[in-house]
């Protein structure tokens, strides 16, 4: 437990010092939202697609954060030693997933706020609970899958291009689930609250499956190549 926290704290300290999230990833994600607007070039369209686009931007931004999180480990081959400091490799997994969660959650809140401003999405009082639950469960799923695939490609050359290729198809169900649930929470006419909660259930099982897969699979994966 202690080790998990120490690792998460280390990651967050590096984040704080380099301000990657604040100064780069958040602006990048906002930029992506704007670019969607540019590419679509129509307001009613945007409003209809708002929830999906927010989560798509989250996915792209998450790729950057995951890459960053493992660049830090592999730049000077720190991951090899890190693995030798902990009694069980799964601690490294949960430590890194935890710091990832903290950062992604902050990002999700900002992006949702941006969608309200940019795309004119609306948040009602009674659906706030659903919205927060969606944010938390989807972000947990995103963190564990991101961390898992981050370590898969961690020691490979050209990992920048491999990570999205491997992780995005696996994240597609999460994208669909989170988008539909968020749509429900934002009061779309195509999907109601009850349905939104059904999607949340899907998100929860997604996070559980990949969380346990990650804990188990981390050890065989976290070995350097050269």
């Amino acid at each position: 437990m202690n080790a998990i926290l120490a690792i998460a704290r280390k990651d967050l300290r590096i984040e704080w010092r380099t301000r990657t999230l604040l100064a780069r990833v958040i602006p990048f994600a906002l930029l992506v939202l704007v670019l969607f607007a540019v590419a679509l070039d129509s307001e009613p369209l945007l409003l209809r697609a708002a929830a999906g686009l927010v989560w798509l931007a989250m996915l792209f931004a998450a790729m950057l954060l995951v890459q960053r999180s493992f660049d830090v480990e592999t730049a000077d081959h720190a991951l090899d030693s890190l693995m030798s400091f902990v009694s069980s490799p799964s601690k490294v997994f949960f430590g890194k997933a935890l710091s990832m969660f903290v950062q992604l959650f902050a990002l999700a809140v900002v992006l949702l706020g941006a969608a309200v401003v940019l795309y004119g999405a609306r948040v009602d009082g009674d659906s706030v609970v659903l919205l927060v639950t969606v944010l938390i469960t989807a972000t947990i799923g995103l963190s564990v899958v991101g961390t898992l695939y981050g370590v898969v490609v961690a020691n490979m050359s050209g990992r920048d291009s491999l990570l999205p290729l491997l992780a995005l198809p696996v994240l597609a169900p999460l994208l669909i689930g989170a988008a539909r649930a968020t749509e429900a929470a934002l009061g779309s006419d195509t999907i109601d609250l009850a349905n939104g909660w059904a999607w949340v259930a899907l998100l929860v099982s997604y996070a559980v499956v990949f969380g346990s897969a990650g804990a188990v699979a981390f050890a065989p994966l976290a070995q350097s190549d050269s």
């Binding site: 280390k10 730049a75 000077d76 030798s84 070995q223």
Partner: protein, 209 residues
């Protein structure tokens, strides 16, 4: 063991006893680094077997990993943490105290200005010293060092020799590689020379200090 089809090691038969201090020598590309990484459970074994501290490296990798401290050609530092924070992080994970951190930094001659600088902004030798400090804090049972002298100045080299000797005194086993020429004053208990992936020479010094 083979890397990418090329046999880096071609049958090294080698027993190192507990508490020994061993220098590994050999020309470039004879497989010294590969041997160390193999013992740390980081390189795969194609043929044969390797036991470290009584554990099989291939099968009990996780156990082996926790007992071995490896300093490779790279230092394994986080560039955005300061030198002190790097050592402190290791201390937290292995359960060492703040005193240990301070004394390790002190011993490696890392003064407070250097300790407070980002690891990424240190000179090559200062980074190497920081990595060594982290290794001291770690208190591994088997120390594997790949060219620990490279980049260190004369003073740090002398200090390093003292540290390695102290480690063996407290029961740890130390194996390090080096290309340094034999220095008249220094005495290394045992020198193993690799050549073409096998042990070519194994000389035990007459008077281990």
């Amino acid at each position: 063991m083979a890397l990418g089809g090329f046999p880096a090691l071609a049958g090294v038969d080698l027993v190192v006893r507990c508490g020994e201090l061993v220098a590994l020598r050999g020309a470039n590309g004879t497989g010294k680094s590969t041997l160390l990484r193999l013992c740390a459970g980081l390189a795969p074994l194609t043929r044969g077997s390797a036991h470290v501290l009584g554990f099989d490296v291939a099968r009990q990798r996780d156990v082996v990993r926790t007992m071995v401290g490896l300093l490779g050609h790279d230092n394994g530092l986080y560039a955005d943490l300061t030198a002190r924070e790097n050592v402190e992080f290791v201390a937290q994970l292995v359960g060492a105290g703040t005193n240990d951190v301070e004394s390790a930094l002190d011993r490696l001659g890392i003064d407070s200005r250097v300790a407070a600088a980002r690891a990424g902004a240190l000179s090559a030798g200062q980074r190497r010293r920081t990595a060594l400090a982290a290794l001291v804090v770690r208190r591994a049972r088997l120390w594997l060092l790949d060219e620990p002298h490279a980049g260190l100045d004369g003073q740090a080299r002398a200090e390093l020799d003292g540290i390695l000797r102290d480690a063996t005194r407290s029961g740890a086993t130390v194996v390090y590689t080096t290309h340094e020429l034999e220095v008249p004053g220094a005495r290394i208990p045992r020198t193993i020379t690799l050549s073409g992936g096998i042990v070519a020479r194994d000389v035990e010094s007459a008077d281990p200090s």
